[in-house]
C-alpha cells in the first residue's frame, strides 16, 4: 500500500518534470542560442551548452535597435488600451444588462458580430482616419482604435447578468442613482471579470504587429514586436543576435509575471461572487 502511493508520487513528479522540460525547451534554446559565438550557431551536432559564452550578442542587439525604448512604448500602449477597454466595456455592458431600451437586442447582436473582425480588413480606412485626426506616429494613433471592443462588452455583460438583481431594484428605488450603483456595487463585485478582461486585452495589445507598424513612422514610436523584426536581415539572419533580442524583451515580461503571478491569479479568481 505504502509502496504504491510512493510509486504514484514518483510517477506524478516525473510526468510533471517531463512536461516542464517540454515547455521550457523553446526558451532554453532561445537563451543558449543568444549566448553562442556566431560560428557555433550552426554547429553540428547541436551545441546544447554555449561555450564560450558570447555576451557581445546582447550588446549588438541593443546597438542595432533601441529595445528599451520599444519595451517602454509597448507597456504604455498596452496599459492605455487595457484601461480604456475596461472602462468603455463596463459602461456599455451595464447598459446592455441593466437598462431596458428600444433596439437593445439588435444593437447587441450587431456589436457581437464584430467580435472576430480582423485588423487586416479595417487597416486602410483606419489608417486614413488616424491620419486625418493627425495621430500618425503618436500614442493616440497606436491605441485609440482599440479603446473598445465587442469582446469586453460581451464578457462583462455575461458577468453582470449573473449578479443578484434584488440589490439593484432596492438601490434604484432608494435613490442611489444608476451611475453610482455601477461604481459602488457592480464594479467591486466584478473584479474577477474585469481582471480577466484586463489580462486578455493587455496580452493581445502587446502582441500587435501590423497596426503599430503602419501607424508609427519613427523609430522612437516603435513597439517591441517590430523591434524584433528589425533584427532580421533579408540577406541572412544572424540568429544569435535575433535570439539576444528575443530574450531581452521576453525576460522582463517573465520577471514581471513572476512578481505579479499571485495578483494575476487572484485578479482572475477575484472576489469570486457566488451567485
Amino acid at each position: 500500500m505504502m509502496h504504491r502511493s510512493l510509486l504514484r508520487k514518483v510517477l506524478t513528479h516525473a510526468l510533471i518534470i517531463a512536461l516542464c522540460v517540454v515547455i521550457l525547451l523553446p526558451l532554453y534554446v532561445a537563451i543558449t542560442t543568444s549566448l553562442k559565438q556566431p560560428s557555433d550557431v550552426f554547429a553540428r551536432p547541436h551545441k546544447w551548452i554555449p561555450n564560450p559564452i558570447h555576451w557581445q550578442n546582447y550588446k549588438n542587439a541593443f546597438s542595432y535597435v533601441p529595445l528599451g525604448r520599444f519595451l517602454l512604448n509597448s507597456v504604455v500602449q498596452s496599459m492605455m488600451v487595457t484601461t480604456m477597454v475596461m472602462f468603455s466595456s463596463a459602461l456599455a455592458a451595464y447598459a446592455f444588462s441593466y437598462i431596458e431600451f428600444p433596439g437593445k437586442r439588435p444593437l447587441f447582436l450587431l456589436i457581437l458580430a464584430t467580435l472576430m473582425v480582423s485588423g487586416e480588413v479595417t487597416i486602410i480606412p483606419n489608417f486614413l482616419t488616424i491620419q486625418r485626426l493627425g495621430w500618425v506616429d503618436t500614442y493616440w494613433g497606436l491605441t485609440v482604435p482599440f479603446f473598445a471592443g465587442a469582446f469586453g462588452i460581451f464578457l462583462l455583460r455575461q458577468f453582470f447578468l449573473q449578479l443578484p438583481r434584488e440589490l439593484y431594484d432596492a438601490a434604484v428605488v432608494d435613490g442611489c442613482g444608476r451611475f453610482r450603483y455601477l461604481f459602488e456595487v457592480i464594479i467591486p463585485l466584478s473584479r474577477s471579470a474585469l481582471g480577466t478582461l484586463g489580462v486578455y486585452t493587455y496580452l493581445s495589445t502587446w502582441n500587435q504587429y501590423f497596426w503599430p507598424l503602419i501607424v508609427t513612422n519613427s523609430t522612437q514610436m516603435r513597439t517591441v514586436q517590430i523591434g524584433i523584426s528589425m533584427l532580421r536581415d533579408a540577406e541572412g539572419d544572424a540568429w544569435h543576435i535575433i535570439m539576444a533580442g528575443v530574450v531581452s524583451v521576453t525576460l522582463p515580461a517573465i520577471i514581471l509575471f513572476l512578481i505579479f503571478q499571485k495578483q494575476l491569479v487572484r485578479g482572475i479568481v477575484g472576489g469570486a461572487v457566488k451567485g
Binding site: F42, N217, E235
Partner: protein, 435 residues
C-alpha cells in the same frame, strides 16, 4: 576666475547653437527595408558618415519593415499626403512605382549634367531605365551565384577549384556529394532564382520584350526554358540530392553553413555574412550560375533595390535629397557597400580603390559576381521583366516549384498553371493602372 570661465563657456555655447540653427540642415527622411546588421549597422554607419561629412543635409533613415511592408507604408503615406522624401523599393516594385505616379523622375537631374553615370555598370543602369528615363537611383544591387562547400567537393573526389558549369554537371556533382544525411544541392522555393535561371538561358519571362518594349500582357515563362529549370530540380529531387527548405531562406542558409549542403544558389548580398557564419568550419567557394549544356550563356539580372524620390516636397528638400542620392553613387560609397556586404559596386571606378582591391585579393569570392555580371549580355531577357504584379508572379512560380519538388505536378503542368494565373493578374493590373 572660475565664474568668468563659466560665463564665457555659456556664451560660446549659446553663440554656437545660434550659428548652428542659422545653418540648420535640411532634413531628408529616408524609408528603407533593410533589417538586421545590414540596416541597423552598415546602412546607419553610412548615413551617419554622410551627415557628418557636410552641413547642408541631414538624412534620417527609418526602417519600415521588410520590402513589402515598406512599399505598403509608402503607398499609405502617399494616400495620406505625407510621403517621406526617399523610399527604398525592391527591384520588382519598379513598374508599380512608376504607375503609382507618386515620385519624381531622376532624368531631369541627370539632364542638367549634375551627375555623370558613365561609370555606372550598364546592366544596373539599364534595369532601372524604362522608356529612356531613369526613375530611381540604384542602391543595393545583388546577383545570384552558386555558393559551394569545397570540403564536400574534396570528400566526393571532385576538384574544388572546378565548380560545375552546366546544369548536367551540377546534377552530377550534387549526386556525388549526397549521402549520410548530406545533400548535394539545397534550395528553397524562391521565384528570383527561377527568373535568373531564365535569364541565363536568355529567355523572357513575359511578352513584349519582357515588358520593356511595350506593356506586358502575358506571362511566357512556361516556355521550354522554364520547364528545363523545373525539370532540373525534379531530376535532382529524384536523385535524392535536393534538399528543399520550403519558402525559408534561413533554413537553407543554416543547412549550408552547417555543412549539410554541398551547393546552393544565393545572393551576393549575403556573401559577407555567410562567410562569417561558416567561420572555419569549411572552405567555401562561389561560382557563376550554371547553363544548360550546349547553350550560350545569356546572363543574370540584377536584384536588390533602388531609391525613389517622392513628389510634393519643397524644392529645397528635393535638392537635399538629390544630394544624398548623388553621394550614394560615388565610387567610395559603392565600395563601402561592396566591402561590407557583398552587394555590387555599381560604380566601376570603385574597383580601383584600395579597399576593394585588397578585399578581392584576400577573398576572390567578391570578384565572382562582378565578373558574372560583366559577362552578361544586355538583352531584354537579362535586363529583367517589368511587370507591376511581380510579387504575385513570384508567389505563383514558387507554388509551381513546390508542386514539382513535392512530385505533385510535372514541370509543364505546374508552369502552365502559374503562367495562366500571372497572365490573369497582369490583365487585372493593366486595367487597374489604365495601361
Amino acid at each position: 576666475m572660475k565664474k568668468r570661465h563659466l560665463i564665457l563657456l555659456v556664451v560660446t555655447v549659446l553663440l554656437l547653437s545660434l550659428s548652428l540653427s542659422a545653418y540648420a540642415k535640411v532634413k531628408v527622411e529616408f524609408w528603407h527595408g533593410l533589417g538586421g546588421h545590414t540596416g541597423s549597422h552598415i546602412l546607419q554607419q553610412f548615413i551617419d558618415d554622410f551627415n557628418a561629412s557636410q552641413d547642408e543635409v541631414e538624412v534620417v533613415a527609418v526602417y519600415q519593415g521588410n520590402y513589402d511592408d515598406t512599399l505598403n507604408k509608402y503607398r499609405l503615406a502617399v494616400q495620406a499626403g505625407t510621403p517621406p522624401h526617399l523610399v527604398h523599393v525592391y527591384e520588382i516594385g519598379t513598374r508599380l512605382m512608376i504607375d503609382l505616379d507618386s515620385s519624381v523622375s531622376l532624368q531631369p537631374f541627370l539632364d542638367r549634367g549634375d551627375l555623370e553615370l558613365d561609370y555606372m555598370v550598364e546592366n544596373v543602369l539599364s534595369y532601372y531605365t524604362i522608356d529612356g528615363q531613369l526613375y530611381s537611383m540604384p542602391f543595393n544591387t545583388s546577383n545570384p551565384i552558386i555558393y559551394y562547400n569545397k570540403d564536400m567537393f574534396r570528400e566526393a573526389g571532385l576538384d574544388p577549384e572546378k565548380p560545375p558549369v552546366t546544369f548536367e554537371e551540377f546534377r552530377e556533382y550534387a549526386k556525388l556529394m549526397t549521402g549520410d544525411g548530406k545533400y548535394g544541392f539545397g534550395n528553397y522555393a524562391y521565384g528570383w532564382y527561377f527568373e535568373q535561371l531564365m535569364a541565363v538561358q536568355n529567355a523572357e519571362y513575359v511578352n513584349n520584350g519582357n515588358g520593356r518594349l511595350g506593356t506586358a500582357t502575358e506571362a511566357t515563362f512556361n516556355s521550354e526554358a522554364g520547364v528545363r529549370i523545373l525539370q532540373w530540380f525534379a531530376d535532382m529531387m529524384a536523385d535524392g540530392s535536393y534538399l528543399h527548405t520550403g519558402r525559408d531562406s534561413g533554413a537553407l542558409r543554416s543547412a549550408f553553413v552547417s555543412g549539410n549542403v554541398g551547393m546552393r544558389l544565393g545572393s551576393t548580398g549575403g556573401l559577407a555574412s555567410t562567410m562569417a557564419d561558416i567561420g572555419d568550419r569549411f572552405e567555401m567557394g562561389v561560382a557563376f550560375l550554371p547553363v544548360p549544356e550546349g547553350m550560350e550563356r545569356g546572363g543574370v539580372i540584377i536584384g536588390g533595390g533602388s531609391i525613389w524620390m517622392a513628389k510634393g516636397h519643397p524644392e529645397e528638400e528635393i535638392e537635399a535629397a538629390w544630394k544624398f542620392l548623388k553621394h550614394l553613387t560615388s565610387p567610395e560609397s559603392t565600395a563601402y557597400w561592396h566591402v561590407n556586404t557583398g552587394y555590387f559596386p555599381i560604380d566601376r571606378r570603385a574597383m580601383e580603390l584600395d579597399e576593394v582591391k585588397a578585399l578581392h585579393e584576400e577573398f576572390p569570392h567578391f570578384r565572382t559576381a562582378i565578373d558574372q555580371l560583366e559577362a552578361s549580355q544586355v538583352t531584354p531577357a537579362t535586363q529583367g521583366a517589368v511587370i507591376g504584379v511581380f510579387p504575385e508572379a513570384r508567389q505563383a512560380v514558387e507554388v509551381a516549384i513546390e508542386q514539382v519538388v513535392l512530385g505533385l505536378a510535372t514541370p509543364q503542368e505546374a508552369l502552365d498553371e502559374a503562367a495562366a494565373e500571372v497572365t490573369a493578374a497582369i490583365r487585372r493590373y493593366n486595367i487597374q493602372s489604365g495601361n
